[in-house]
């Protein structure tokens, strides 16, 4: 009862929770204490590394490489347009679908404050010092060795270096123009507020359809924007995001079609769908990626045509078809959960088979498996790590290149670099899982 008292403060509610759930029996207390000790020790070690031992300057100086690789700086506007469109659409949707505006504004505000002010008064440069050294060999001769010694110098402003490096590294891919960055933050807040004002028309199909269409169009627009640069310039997190977004979108479409094909009354279609799903899932993604990479004219004109497409496009196709096979199985589960009465009611009011699936069956089936679909998307996103294996420069590969190519300053900084790589994967996975959670709550209204 203590826990439900309306005027109990959050703190005392937590204390009550701890007493009743963590320390209620002797065994439970022992286990809780052990977990706390181990957790605290790990947290201490990690904090010590992050705050004192790590060489974050290395990350900061390479931040652009991690996000967009060797994207030509003159063409940066293409990425900025993509960032602006995404920020606008995301914030508008967030506001419209009733996300918590206050905590959102606080999060954006804090991020903006840190990122926009941290860089002030800092300087990051490589200092080169010539040096000469005399070495006396065993036989008594002296040789003079001279060279240039490099050191990464980091004059920080007011902020501790790690904070500066992480925030800036994450958010300023281009050593970003300050104004552009500020504009993105302003847009994030303004968009959410505008979305909130639109809530009144939330049931208006035109509004919903335009926003839905904008989301669907966003990906092709971003890809079209990139074609001016050439796909071989796609690298790092930017490459991963594009392959994931395009591959993921198509994998959903392919998955739904396969799931429907699997239960088609036409045996040829259902057998073809089942065969496809089983064959694709029988081999690891890496194998399919290698096929796509080395396929030349083995498959006749089809293979030849395919091999002429840029590698980045080819792996995207593999992602779409590979992801599709898994989504198909998830959607199949959703379809099985729809009772026969729904089909019969749709038939009885005269809907055509296409209308029946598009308006009645699929919306419910997909809704029923949103968490599993999000799970597949998160898996697909993390699978972009495999792109390194087919000589594409993804985030992981870029990190390795930084470690291998800047030995004078990157010596031994594995941990710092891989923490950043891990963060890139984590941030997107986290956003996806939040999106899934939100979708689940919003869609629960119409659940049976």
């Amino acid at each position: 009862m203590i826990g439900t008292m309306p005027n109990a403060s959050a703190l005392s509610r937590r204390a009550a929770y701890a007493r009743t759930r963590l320390f209620n029996t002797r065994t439970n207390t022992a286990l809780s204490l052990a977990a706390i000790v181990v957790g605290a020790a790990l947290a201490f070690l990690l904090a010590r590394f992050i705050l004192f031992d790590a060489n974050w300057a290395l990350v900061a100086i390479n931040r652009k490489l991690f996000f967009v690789g060797s994207y030509p700086p003159d063409e940066a506007f293409r990425i900025w347009i993509a960032v602006f469109l995404t920020a606008l659409l995301a914030s508008l949707s967030y506001g419209l679908w009733g996300g918590n505006l206050r905590s959102y504004a606080i999060a954006v505000g804090v991020a903006a404050l840190l990122i926009l002010t941290l860089g002030l008064g800092t300087e990051l440069r490589i200092e080169e010092r010539p040096y000469t050294e005399q070495i006396r060999s065993a036989s008594g001769e002296t040789t003079t060795i001279s060279g240039i010694e490099r050191e990464l110098v980091f004059d920080r402003g007011w902020a501790p270096s790690w904070l500066y490096a992480i925030s800036l590294g994450l958010a300023l891919p281009f050593g970003a123009p300050w104004l552009l960055m500020a504009a993105v933050f302003a847009l994030l807040v303004a968009g959410a507020m505008a979305g909130r004002r639109l809530t009144r028309w939330k049931t208006n199909p035109i509004l919903l359809q335009s926003i839905g269409a904008a989301w669907v169009l966003l990906i092709p627009i971003v890809v079209l924007l990139q074609t001016g640069v050439g796909v071989d310039k796609w690298e790092s997190a930017f490459l991963d995001l594009l392959v994931f977004a395009v591959g993921g979108l198509f994998s959903f479409v392919i998955g739904v079609l396969l799931a429907l094909g699997r239960r088609s009354p036409y045996r040829a279609i259902s057998i073809a769908s089942i065969t496809y799903i089983e064959v694709v899932r029988a081999a690891p993604l890496l194998v399919w990626l290698l096929f796509a990479t080395f396929l030349e004219d083995e498959l006749g004109p089809v293979g030849e045509a395919f091999s002429n497409i840029s590698l980045a496009y080819r792996v995207t196709v593999v992602f779409a078809f590979f992801g599709g096979a898994y989504i198909a199985e998830v959607v199949r589960g959703g379809l099985q959960s729809i009772p026969r009465g729904q089909y019969e009611a749709a038939d009885a009011i005269g809907l055509s088979p296409v209308q029946k699936y598009a308006l009645i069956i699929l919306p419910q089936a997909v809704r029923a498996v949103v968490p599993a679909i999000i799970g597949r998307f998160i898996a697909l996103w993390k699978d972009t790590a495999l792109l390194a294996a087919v000589s594409l420069v993804n985030t992981l590969e870029k990190a390795k290149k930084v470690l291998g190519g800047q030995t004078d300053i990157a010596d031994g900084a594995f941990f710092e670099i891989y923490i950043i790589v891990g963060l890139v994967y984590w941030v997107v996975s986290y956003l996806l899982s939040r999106l899934g959670g939100a979708a689940e709550t919003r869609l629960r209204v119409g659940a049976r």
């Binding site: 009465g341 009885a348 009011i349 005269g350 055509s352 009645i360 419910q364 119409g446 659940a447 049976r448």
Partner: protein, 250 residues
């Protein structure tokens, strides 16, 4: 106009339906004229639902012929579309679309099948909701309504296509007792308005008062057909008597 000159809405001739080796309908003959209300009763598993479902071809029949409004039902897609759009069906389990609001449930078919403009379809949907007495629930989802309200929405949905025939498959069997009457009231009003109706029901009061004729089915066959007055007072067949004794005396 006399009843005899009215047009025939449904006719079944020697209709047979099998599920594998099992014969669910065995040579059924029925004729229903426009404006007639027919109650179908019989023990569980006797083929009552199957009978209704062959008429709108949710279950295609195996033998015999079915005519609806003068047109024989074949597997031609046009006759299929005709029978589906011109009949309304109300299910025991309501089968409302849980992801759509009450209003959308009703407006969907007129809009998508009849291509009515949205505002017109929704305006008509509101009128139908008024007719079944639940206008205030228009923006709710089916899951937020009581069973009786859901079944009334289902009736409104079936009426939305202006059907020539309404079929009810045990519409009150899934309801709590206190909600049965609100649904029966709607059905009785509908019968009084001249709608042609086929109702599978266990509500003998409704069968006796609202129906013109009663059909008793057993083991896939029609055992007895009579006017509702005759049927309950003078059943001819022994099987009918036994069944009526069972349900009327509990």
């Amino acid at each position: 106009m006399t009843t005899d000159s009215k047009r025939e809405m449904v006719r079944l001739e020697k209709v047979t339906k099998r599920f594998g080796d099992f014969t669910a309908l065995n040579g059924v003959d029925i004729s229903v004229t426009e404006g007639e209300v027919v109650a179908i009763i019989g023990p569980s598993g006797s083929g009552k639902s199957t009978l209704l479902r062959t008429i709108n071809q949710l279950e295609p029949h195996d033998e015999g012929r079915i005519f609806f409004d003068g047109v024989e039902l074949t597997d031609d897609s046009r006759t299929l579309a005709k029978i589906r759009t011109e009949t309304g069906m109300v299910f025991q389990q309501f089968n409302l679309f849980p992801h759509l609001t009450v209003l959308r449930n009703i407006a969907l078919a007129p809009q998508k099948v009849r291509h009515l403009p949205e505002h017109e379809a929704e305006e008509r949907a509101l009128q139908l909701l008024d007719r079944v007495g639940i206008t205030e629930q228009a923006e709710k989802y089916p899951g937020q309504l009581s069973g009786g309200q859901q079944q009334r929405v289902a009736i409104a949905r079936a009426l939305a296509m202006d059907p020539k025939l309404m079929m009810f498959d045990e519409p009150t069997s899934a309801l709590d007792p206190e909600m049965i009457n609100e649904v029966l009231k709607v059905m009785t009003e509908l019968a009084a308005s001249g709608m042609t109706m086929l109702c599978v029901t266990h509500e003998m009061g409704f069968a006796r008062n609202a129906a013109n004729r009663v059909i008793f089915m057993d083991e896939g066959e029609i055992v007895e057909i009579g006017t509702s007055a005759d049927f309950f007072t003078n059943p001819r067949e022994q099987r009918t008597k036994t069944f009526l004794d069972q349900i009327l005396t509990h």
